[in-house]
């Protein structure tokens, strides 16, 4: 009846997961109770859960990402403290638990933390920057988000029902085959990643179609903001690479559930085929994350330097160069496979060459600042910290790309330090830069400046104190994923690293405090103009927060940096463009199909994990029935009357008049 599921799946004998689960469940129940008591359900259901508005979906993606980042950070704290106390000692985490933690940390940080945040930024920004009202497939967008959330939910469920994988964030066979890992841990991994992968693919298709087919009038390719270019490149990679992950995990699933021999070490299975396939996804995945991050930095550098981006066309070319070459470097993750000198040489050279594209970008950002009026506000601090951090990470990356050197550093802490150097320095810094930069656009008020700067400095210093020792440890010969350590001479470096984690915790506290303080002081921090940073692209032409239809009248773009051109013209002529004629707007209606599908997909995933076959079948049928019911609906769009459009846009124009007056007064100053 319940497959492999029984009460013994709840980890009553392990205090850490048990206590964590109880706290998580209590917090979740508390939030639900609060929503119920305050009668927020109708609002949440109408405005958020069933919303097909790309901005709302983007915000929900970011919220999911932040929650999962905190979960992943908790795992990181446990790993670093375990290694610091387990020097010639067992430490406080037994091996089977420690192995789950490093697996969960990697899986969560990449797939459920960074990915939702990057997808969230793309969803929120791309239509606004392209001057259109929504993405190509709004309802599918909602389905994609809820599927991602469903995957994240399954990962967290593994904390208190059963266990998570102990195989590392990429479950290499034959260890991940049933013969060696019979428990449900790998199955949780497989179904959670598979479900959220479908969600990611939906966003990929959506953004590619939006960028290529839905730009406003006059927005030719070489007028698009660089963020849109990087979003396009990233989503092309999603479309090309995520199916490889889907296929690979499906093969592993067939091996585990039906005893097939794709990757087994018996009967002609080929474990190295898994490693090749999974990295053919895994390496592009790194660029799926980092390319939009480069886009965020590009926007920040040009806005806070008061200059157009230096070398816009070379930036576009470098983005597409990276997009293509990123598919040709996967083997550098396992030079030690023994593919021979010729193959290793090819992949060593291709991995080094990708640094050329990145180098072009770094110089473009530096030259953007050169001669500009640089404002050192929080987003700019994160961006400048990024340049420093990412260059070092890139250099160690080129070092690892040399096969003979890689044979010495393979699987060492040096590698761990390197990829944290580029992913934290590249992606996480970008996420925080973008968060500080676009928060006023999304919510209508700025974030507190002082706490933001404190958070940056704690994170920046904390990052280096945490990870520099890991480089040293790697060169001393320490391999990754050690549950305990037998070399006391490594202990000073491990202690320094833990101290770094302490500084990072202060950074997280500052970040949370900043949000709380900013919400408290929101009236003082209100952004009435819609253009708080003197922005250059079209999202700053809308009020903060933008109305659900984004633009009352679709913009007509006449040059690069669309909004900057409009603003200059207004300042020169001392007036806004004449009031347009308002016409009714068609917008898609909300739909519960996303949460409905995700609910049954979660049930399906859970029952597959626990081998509850009948329930899995029921869930599949229910999900299909939901789609058919959705396909049967008659009303797909509703009309926003012209008067409503005019009312919203006149308010925006009034705010713009005030902004124009302020700008003109500034112009008059010496």
């Amino acid at each position: 009846m319940f497959g492999k599921l029984s009460l013994s799946a709840i980890p009553v004998s392990q205090p850490i997961p048990l206590i964590t689960s109880i706290i998580v469940i209590l917090v979740a129940l508390g939030v639900l109770a609060l929503i119920t008591v305050k009668r927020w359900w109708p609002y949440l259901w109408r405005e958020w859960i069933t919303s097909v508005d790309h901005k709302r979906i983007g915000v929900m993606y970011c919220l999911l990402g932040v929650v999962m980042l905190i979960r992943g950070f908790a795992d990181a704290i446990m790993m670093r403290t375990q290694q610091a106390v387990a020097i010639d000692a067992p430490g406080y985490l037994p091996p089977e638990h420690y192995d789950q933690i490093f697996t969960a940390h990697g899986t969560i940080m990449i797939l459920f933390g960074a990915m939702p945040l990057v997808l969230g930024f793309m969803n929120f920004l791309v239509p606004l920057q392209l001057g259109v009202r929504d993405v190509a497939f709004p309802t599918f967008n909602s389905v994609g988000f809820w599927l991602t959330a469903s995957g994240a939910l399954l990962v967290n469920v593994s904390l208190f029902i059963g266990e998570f994988a102990r195989t590392g964030w990429l479950p290499y066979p034959p260890l991940s085959e049933t013969a060696y890992t019979p428990g449900v841990g790998v199955d949780y991994y497989l179904w959670a990643v598979q479900i959220s992968g479908v969600g990611t693919l939906i966003t990929g298709i959506n953004i590619v179609t939006t960028v290529l087919k839905m730009r406003c009038r006059g927005m030719s390719y070489l007028r698009m903001p660089v963020f849109c270019w990087t979003a396009l490149a990233s989503c092309l990679l999603i479309v090309a690479a995520f199916p490889i992950l889907t296929a690979t995990l499906a093969m592993l699933t067939l091996d585990r559930y039906l005893g097939w021999h794709y990757f087994s070490n018996t009967a002609g299975g080929n474990p190295m085929m898994f490693v090749n396939l999974v990295w053919a996804w895994g390496h592009p995945e790194v660029y799926i994350l980092v390319l939009p991050s480069f886009g965020i930095f590009s926007e920040v550098f040009s806005t806070f330097s008061g200059k157009p981006l230096f070398g816009y066309r070379s930036m576009v070319a470098a983005t597409l160069f990276i997009c293509i070459v990123s598919m040709l470097v996967w083997l550098h993750h396992f030079f030690t496979m023994g593919a021979g000198a010729a193959v290793n040489t090819f992949f060593g050279i291709s991995s080094s060459i990708i640094a050329v594209g990145t180098g072009v970008k770094i110089y473009n950002w530096i030259f953007t600042m050169y001669g500009g009026r640089v404002r050192f506000e929080t987003p700019m601090l994160w961006s400048m910290g990024f340049i420093f951090t990412f260059v070092i990470g890139g250099l160690t990356g080129v070092l690892l790309a040399i096969p003979p050197a890689d044979f010495l550093t393979h699987n060492s802490m040096f590698l761990v330090a390197h990829f944290h150097n580029v992913i934290v320095g590249g992606v996480v810094f970008a996420i925080f830069a973008g968060y500080e930069f676009w928060f006023p656009k999304a919510f209508g008020f700025r974030l507190h400046e002082g706490w933001g700067k404190a958070a940056f400095w704690f994170a920046f210093v904390g990052f280096w104190v945490t990870f520099t020792p890991l480089y040293v440890l790697g060169l001393l010969g320490m391999t990754r994923r050690l549950q305990h350590i037998n070399f006391p001479e490594w202990s000073p470096w491990l202690y320094i690293s833990v101290a770094g984690v302490g500084i990072l915790i202060l950074g997280v506290i500052s970040q949370v405090t900043q949000l709380v303080v900013s919400i408290r002081d929101r009236d003082r921090l209100r952004d009435v103009s819609g253009d708080p940073w003197d922005g250059r692209s079209l999202e700053w032409a809308t009020p903060s927060p933008p109305p659900f239809f984004n633009f009352a009248v679709m913009p007509n773009v006449e040059g690069e940096e669309a909004y900057w051109g409009i603003k200059l013209r207004a300042v020169e002529t001392q007036q806004l463009s004449p009031e347009p004629e308002y016409v009714p707007i068609e917008m898609p209606v909300n739909s519960p199909v996303g949460i409905y599908t995700a609910f049954f997909t979660t049930v399906f995933g859970f029952s597959m994990i626990w081998h509850i076959w009948w329930l899995a079948a029921v869930a599949l049928v229910a999900a299909f029935a939901g789609f058919v019911a959705f396909a049967w609906r008659d009303v797909q769009e509703f009309e926003v009357p012209a008067e409503e459009v005019a009312r919203v846009d006149r308010a925006r124009r009034a705010a713009r008049e005030a902004l124009l007056e302020r700008l003109s007064r500034q112009e008059a100053l010496p």
Binding site: V132, A136, I205, T246, A247, L254, L258, H261, A267, F624
Partner: protein, 231 residues
């Protein structure tokens, strides 16, 4: 642009035919970009183009999935673990019938869309039904093949080669089965709702899907069966 009553895509194709090297692309006047195709100068594309385009992108991603299963088959083709080789399991006659059924179904599928373009509900339904029946013949023949092989003890659990064989062929069969489910839903929609805009868009997508499955099958027929029967 003068309104011709045709979809924007038709207009765009006409322009390209008249000016194959796109010489007029930059100039104004007659070379102006077509309204509704989503090119820079003209604003967002029409819904029809957006839906078709997005579905193409999805199909590309689906073909990447097939590519992985093809790659696995290429890697594991010789990994028989002492069991039967690919040459011993291929029954080229039956696969010939399967292929004929599937290719014919692509033809009827195209005819159904010709009927859709003429807004003829009866013929659309008839040709969709024929497409579905031919798909059913295909799936039935494939199932028969699998059952017969299993009867001889030839199962995916036997060897790496058989795993990748059943995986690749089965994945295609699963696609055809799901396509059949979709087809039945579309027939019901055409019957009950007629040729509404969104239903025509779905029929476009279904056509693309069904033809893509044909293309993939050509690959499977060649690489797995034809090259296998010679092995």
């Amino acid at each position: 642009m003068t309104y011709t009553g045709l979809p924007a895509s038709v207009e765009a194709i006409r322009r390209v035919r008249q000016d194959p090297h796109r010489l007029g692309h930059r100039a104004h006047g007659p070379g102006e970009p077509v309204e509704g195709t989503g090119h820079g100068g003209t604003g967002p594309a029409s819904k029809r183009i957006i839906v078709g385009y997005g579905f193409w992108i999805f199909l590309l991603s689906d073909i990447v999935i097939f590519a992985c299963f093809f790659a696995a088959f290429a890697v594991q083709r010789g990994a028989t673990a002492g069991g039967p080789t690919i040459g011993e399991i291929v029954d080229i006659r039956r696969v010939g019938f399967e292929t004929a059924a599937l290719l014919l179904s692509s033809y009827t599928c195209m005819l159904s869309f010709a009927a859709t373009n003429a807004r003829n509900r009866l013929w659309t339904e008839i040709f969709l039904l024929l497409t579905g029946l031919l798909g059913l013949v295909f799936v039935a023949l494939e199932l028969w093949e699998f059952v017969e092989l299993a009867g001889r003890g030839i199962t995916p659990q036997r060897s790496g080669m058989l795993t990748s064989f059943f995986g690749l062929v089965g994945l295609h069969g699963l696609h055809v089965t799901l396509g059949g489910l979709w087809l039945a839903t579309m027939m019901a929609q055409v019957l009950l709702k007629g040729f509404r805009r969104e239903i025509i868009h779905r029929l476009i997508c279904f056509n693309l899907f069904w033809h893509a499955l044909d293309i993939v099958w050509i690959g499977i027929f060649t690489i797995v069966y034809l090259m296998g029967s010679g092995a």
